[in-house]
């Protein structure tokens, strides 16, 4: 199934992209998808193993199981205000 990754701030700089898509096996969790992204190597391998994530714009646990076409956002520590 296809997962759309969204990257912000420091993570965007590391990966060098705002978004990218990867195909992961059905039944993959958010953690699995992050592992797949880090396995691309380069700056992506410097992403944290367990980042804060949102699935389809909602904060989610890393053990959450993804569905086809989910948007998985990797969120650096927030710094608003």
């Amino acid at each position: 199934m296809r997962i759309k990754f969204l990257l912000f701030a420091l993570y965007r700089d590391l990966v060098g992209a705002e978004e990218l898509e990867l195909v992961v096996p059905p039944g993959s969790t958010a953690a699995d998808a992050v592992t797949a992204l880090r396995a691309r190597g380069g700056g992506s391998s410097r992403l944290p193993e367990r980042p804060v994530v949102a699935i389809n714009r909602i904060y989610a646990g890393l053990d959450e199981i993804l569905s086809d076409n989910d948007e998985l956002a990797l969120l650096p520590p927030v710094a608003g205000g």
């Binding site: 912000f8 701030a9 420091l10 927030v78 710094a79 608003g80």
Partner: protein, 153 residues
């Protein structure tokens, strides 16, 4: 509907003219934020403004870039405001967070809470800024005088 039957002119309503939770790239109009919550029933208004400081950790800052996961940030800010409003009860709340390139002194966030009484107004404004710091998907990158920059965490 029913426009054939009678002359109904739109009522200008400051309170509905401003969304209670807004992520914007425009400069924040503090007076408009205050006006949006003010009403004859509300004797107390608490306003919080966050502005870009000229230095951080002792290092001079030349400017600040705010980035966000905009679609999600709008939802999260609306959620935070709704939580504060539920606790506050009667009253009005507006919270606006600016993103994009900001200069020293620019208002990055404005939160106004109006209530019949002062404690709920203060508490609502305080709650919202604390929750923004905890969970609003916004990031800032400081620009320094030497041309370098850094994402804050």
């Amino acid at each position: 509907m029913n426009s054939h039957c009678c002359h109904r002119w739109p009522v200008v309503d400051l309170q509905s003219a401003m969304q209670p939770a807004l992520i914007t790239r425009e400069a924040i109009d503090t007076a408009a934020v205050l006006a949006a919550v003010s009403a004859p029933a509300h004797g107390a208004v608490a306003l919080f403004l966050g502005t870009v400081r000229e230095q951080n950790d002792g290092r001079p800052v030349s400017g600040m870039r705010y980035d966000s996961y905009e679609a999600m940030a709008s939802d999260v800010l609306a959620e935070i405001v709704a939580e504060a409003a539920a606790t506050m009860g009667e009253g009005e709340i507006v919270a606006v967070h600016r993103i994009g390139e900001l200069s020293i002194g620019d208002v990055s966030v404005a939160i106004a809470a109006a209530s019949p009484h002062r404690a709920p107004a203060f508490d609502a404004a305080r709650y919202i800024i604390e929750e923004i710091k905890l969970r609003l998907p916004v990031w800032k990158q400081e620009h320094y005088n030497d041309g370098s920059q850094r994402w804050l965490a």
